[in-house]
């Protein structure tokens, strides 16, 4: 079920009413309702893959229980690795099987050895990368004794399948989300209202910004040979807005929806395009994944401790794995490597934490220095997005060579002024609200009611105006 569909607009109020008016007396019943609603939400896409989520839930629940009682280190390690192998095994099979088979065939053919292996027609289960990482975090935290395993299977199943964030995150940690299923939830008016605002902004990002930018990004990327360098630059910028609007829009709707049920999910995006360097960008972009890799991969590898070689090695590993997580294609690996290259100088010069505050805090406009830093960081990001968007490496390289030629300085033949003006409106609101958790968060601010409500209505009308495409979210494929 898509958040930007009428199905969800009907589903959400029904679950909300059942949750707060029918099952509100009993926390276990509320959790059971969440599990049923989540399975319905997921099954709406393809019920056959529900068995995969259920199996993953079952495995990690029992491994978690066993880890708690098992004292022997060897046995504990076996249990942990069982969880890792099973979970990553599913992910590997569904997501990476064909990639490895095809690349092995290519590699062997290159060395003059022909092998027979067939790629399979595999459907990638929606959200598998997200819930796999979520359940893995549980097993690892239990193994590290950071978390006591739950005895409550329903609560655990609700944690794994919690519908707002099941298919595209934020990837929650068991330490944050699971305990929320044990506690009695009470309806919090201001939290719920702010949740609705966040949903509204998320829908705006998706329906108005991302989907309209997608039309132009697709047109330009699919026909890049027909356009001048200046148009190709615009195409990459449109894609940058598309992916941000699409993914952060999903996260906003997910977090807002969870708040309606009195759950707090972690912030996943913190206005990343206002970053002044790549390190800051990665602290603000897809935070739940970045911190997951930091805690469960980078730090176990040694992090930035050790010599220069170790730092370089670990940085490349984390960025390349992060790229590969997005998809089984060399373009994602190059995208990850490119970000590692951007990040390394900051790390080696010990400047990766120089911009940890909010840019131009308390000011309306940034300093010239900050402004140029933002533009340079954004440009580097846009350049990397070309690899992310391209069908394959040669598509990306041809696209880039299409940019670097004299036509770069010609007037673009595609210049959708109306769309660009909406993008500027979007950037302006985000800029003004960059100190908040989301762009429509007005808690504690003295903004006249009429202004706020007018803004909500304008946004609601814009969403309604562009509603109808019901485009899927990009991150569903990851």
């Amino acid at each position: 079920m898509l958040f930007n569909s009428l199905d969800f607009a009907v589903f959400l109020p029904i679950i909300f009413i059942l949750y707060w008016f029918i099952f509100n007396k009993n926390i276990k019943l509320q959790n059971l309702l969440i599990v049923c609603a989540s399975y319905l939400f997921y099954g709406w896409w393809d019920w056959k893959f529900l068995s995969l989520i259920f199996f993953s839930t079952l495995i990690d629940y029992f491994i978690g229980r066993k880890l708690f009682t098992e004292e022997k280190t060897t046995n504990r390690k076996i249990l942990l690795w069982s969880s890792i192998v099973i979970n990553l095994g599913f992910l590997g099979f569904f997501k990476y099987y064909n990639f490895f088979v095809e690349n092995f065939i290519t590699a062997f053919t290159f060395f003059g050895c022909n092998i027979n292996a067939n790629s399979l027609n595999i459907i990638l289960p929606v959200g598998i990368s997200f819930y796999t990482f979520q359940t893995l975090s549980y097993s690892i935290d239990v193994y590290k004794k950071k978390l006591e395993p739950t005895k409550d299977f329903i609560a655990f199943a609700a944690f794994v399948s919690f519908f707002p964030q099941l298919v595209a995150g934020p990837i929650e940690r068991a330490t944050n989300l699971l305990p929320q299923f044990y506690k009695k939830r009470t309806f919090n008016y201001s939290n719920a209202i702010d949740g609705l605002r966040q949903i509204l902004w998320g829908l705006f990002k998706k329906v108005v910004i991302a989907d309209n930018c997608a039309d132009y990004a697709n047109l330009i990327f699919n026909n890049y040979t027909d356009y001048s360098g200046s148009v190709l630059v615009l195409g990459a910028v449109f894609f940058a807005f598309q992916i941000y609007g699409d993914f952060s829009g999903y996260s906003d709707i997910a977090i807002g929806t969870a708040r309606l049920f009195s759950f707090n999910l972690m912030q996943n995006f913190a206005f990343p395009y206002f970053s002044r360097d790549i390190a800051e960008f990665w602290r603000r972009w897809h935070i739940s994944l970045s911190t997951w890799f930091r805690d469960y991969l980078y730090i176990p590898l040694g992090g930035s401790k050790g010599g220069t070689f170790n730092k370089i090695k670990n940085t490349f590993i984390i960025f390349i794995v992060s790229g590969f997580w997005h998809g089984a294609n060399w373009t994602f690996i190059v995208w990850g490597a490119l970000n590692a290259i951007y990040f390394l100088p900051l790390l080696l010069l010990n400047k990766n934490r120089q911009n940890i505050d909010i840019v131009a805090y308390g000011k309306f406009i940034p300093s010239i220095n900050d402004f140029f830093k933002i533009i340079i960081t954004f440009s580097l990001t846009v350049f990397a997005w070309i690899f992310f968007r391209a069908e394959n490496l040669s598509h990306a390289l041809n696209y880039i060579s299409g940019i670097i030629n004299p036509t770069l300085f010609t007037y673009p033949s595609i210049l959708p002024i109306k769309l660009i003006s909406m993008m500027l409106f979007f950037v302006l609101i985000e800029w003004l609200q960059r100190t908040e958790k989301h762009a429509l968060c007005f808690n504690g601010k003295t903004i006249p009611l009429i202004f706020r409500w007018s803004l909500y209505l304008v946004i609601a009308f814009l969403i309604a105006s562009f509603f109808g495409k019901a485009n899927s979210f990009i991150y569903f494929q990851f």
Partner: protein
């Protein structure tokens, strides 16, 4: 919780009221891009020489009725001039066509209008691929939705499951219309919304499927058209079935029919009369359910033409005159338009004699 619900309800009410106010103060907007383009073209470029005859309907009108052929055939038979324009649009079905026609009648364009041809169609299901698009929501008002419900209820040839699906799709579309979903957005952003290509080669609203195949820049659409043509050539059995079905009894006037639909048709005939317009319902080839034939039989003689019966019009079911299973090619369209003009001339002559 009470405050929360009150606030949401208040917001929705405010949204609906403001939406209604916006609709009232902004110029009327046709949500169908083909129809919008054609109306805008007539208003802008043809206001001094408006046509006096129009064709309303789906792709069976848009792709099959050639105003140039119709006008010249009619002239050669009657020695009277006629100036026609094709207002058909793809996937524009009943009751949307009735809605368009009623709005057309109340517009200034109707002042010069003498004859209108409307394709006779069953109440159609909104296809899944069209759902949530502005073109299938903008026209659904309360009276049309009730007409749809009643007509479906009275249609003897549709199963209950299909009726449920129809009603659900129409209700969702009505809700979307009420909330202004999908309205204005594409018109605002998409520079190709008003696309003069829709008017066809002679700028008279007819656009053959062959020409569309040759000129479209949309590769997916082009491939779909090519496949539709290939499918017809590969298997002609369905076309033969349609030809056989078209010979069903046209004379039995006592078969059960959709009375609600008939009432609407009679209303349109009377409304047209008041405006000085003669309206003719066409039963077109390859679209002839029993329900439609029964309905056709009940329409007054002066307001109908049928070109559906394959015994009478075998050329309209020939493979060499076809583009795909449901549509004629350019050659077939020319024959069809000529036959339509001939039948129309007969109708007028009979009328005069009576």
């Amino acid at each position: 919780m009470k405050n929360f619900i009150i606030r949401i309800v208040f917001f929705i009410l405010l949204y609906l009221i403001i939406g209604r106010l916006i609709s009232l103060i902004t110029p009327y907007h046709w949500g169908n891009p083909w129809y919008s383009t054609k109306i805008q073209y007539l208003e802008k470029f043809k206001s001094n020489n408006l046509p006096n005859t129009y064709f309303f309907g789906s792709s069976r009108v848009y792709r099959q009725i050639m105003p140039t052929v119709f006008d010249s055939t009619y002239f050669s038979l009657s020695k009277k001039h006629i100036n026609s324009f094709n207002l058909g649009a793809p996937a524009t079905f009943c009751p949307q066509v009735y809605y368009l026609y009623e709005n057309f009648l109340s517009s200034s364009l109707s002042q010069n209008t003498k004859y209108v041809f409307i394709e006779l169609m069953d109440i159609d299901l909104i296809e899944k691929n069209l759902m949530h698009q502005e073109r299938v929501t903008y026209w659904i008002n309360l009276s049309d939705i009730f007409f749809g419900y009643n007509a479906l209820h009275n249609n003897p040839s549709i199963s209950l499951a299909t009726k449920t699906k129809y009603i659900s799709n129409y209700s969702i579309s009505y809700l979307e219309n009420l909330l202004h979903m999908g309205h204005f957005g594409q018109q605002y952003l998409d520079n190709n919304y008003y696309n003069l290509d829709y008017l066809g080669e002679h700028k008279n609203g007819f656009f053959s499927l062959e020409r569309d195949t040759a000129t479209t820049k949309n590769e997916t659409f082009k491939n779909q058209l090519i496949d539709r043509n290939k499918d017809l050539i590969a298997d002609t059995s369905e076309l033969k079935n349609r030809a056989i079905n078209s010979t069903k009894d046209f004379s039995n006037k006592n078969l059960p029919l959709d009375v609600v639909h008939l009432e609407r048709i009679n209303k349109l005939i009377n409304l047209s009369k008041e405006k000085g317009v003669s309206v003719v319902f066409i039963l077109s080839p390859r679209n002839n359910s029993q329900n439609l034939i029964n309905l056709y039989n009940a329409i007054p003689e002066n307001n109908k033409i049928q070109l559906s019966n394959s015994k009478k019009y075998p050329e309209l079911y020939m493979i060499e005159n076809s583009f795909d299973i449901g549509h004629l090619n350019t050659k077939g369209s020319s024959i069809y338009s000529s036959l339509l003009a001939t039948e129309f001339n007969k109708l007028l002559t009979d009328k005069e004699h009576h």
